[in-house]
Amino acid sequence: MAALINVPTKARRGEIIEIRTLTSHIMETGFRHTADGALVPRDIITSFTCRYNGTEIFRADLFPAIAANPYLSFFTVAKESGKFEFEWIGDNGYSSSASASITVE
């Protein structure tokens, strides 16, 4: 699925940087019913992780009542050049990933 990632392409060593992620997902709560009364099954993202050169730096558990297309923003310290890897895992075997690179000077 489509994802929008905002990581600065360049940063100074030791600088605090903001990472913003937005991914496409319906986040169906599992509490809603159709017009004829059938329960709409839950379909949400349950977990998000961010790895910085292989080391996990941020993790979030997601629950029903989080809006569709979840947006997450967090901070980290730019230590070395390399790659951020993002992974979203959810119901019905949902899995999506994205990555972004950074140059640290």
Binding site: A2, A3, L4, N6, L22, T23, S24, M27, A68, N69
Partner: protein, 259 residues
Amino acid sequence: MSFWRAIAAAALLATGPALLAGEILPDARRSGYSFMGPDTRAMQDDDTSNPGMLFVLDGEALWTKRTGSADKACADCHGDARGSMKGVAARYPAFDKALARPVTLDQRINLCRSNHQQAPALPYESRDLLALSAFVAHQSRGVAITAGDDPQLKPFVDQGRDLFMQREGQLNLACTNCHDDNFNKRLAGAPITQGQPTGYPLYRLEWQTLGSLERRLRSCMTGVRAQAYDFGAPELVALELYLMSRAHGLPMETPAVRP
């Protein structure tokens, strides 16, 4: 005598040319953006936090994907959308010669699918149709709206204006009662806007998804307890056309974010 003459002269000056009572003057036209709070504005302004951009990305992928029995992609005829589609959405709904009536951008996409790609029409409000129209309309971001300028559209713009002025539903309200006469005030907690359709298809936080102008119009009609027109109905297209001509000169914002 001169007193009455002065009143007659004043009355003549007060009635502008071809403007109905309550219509918004061109200088006073404002996008729904200007009625929003700073948080929602920031969300729209930053392409990495605007959820509408997710649909634009999907649309970009669909643009180059071959489909239908003709096995053609949009890009096979139209090339790079950044050039070929710039300004297109700003003049839609546009007059279709073969059908002798205006068609919306969504209808144009489906006409292309059936005539040139030999593919089945995409249902209204389906993810793929919204993604494609968002991608096409996004190419016109910043372009001034010129829809309705085509003289062949005149009767349809007039029909749309009549519908806009027509009271309907159990609440017996016309569009004009809120969007011409009472914008800038509030309906419950929400600001009443001028109803300028500058950013469609747009991401509405209430919907938690992208939606078309027709979906918006239908929810307004339900709001006044009227029977909403079906998607693609000629009345809905005429209203859409009048609204776009009413927003003449305002820049396109697709994909906009609205509360």
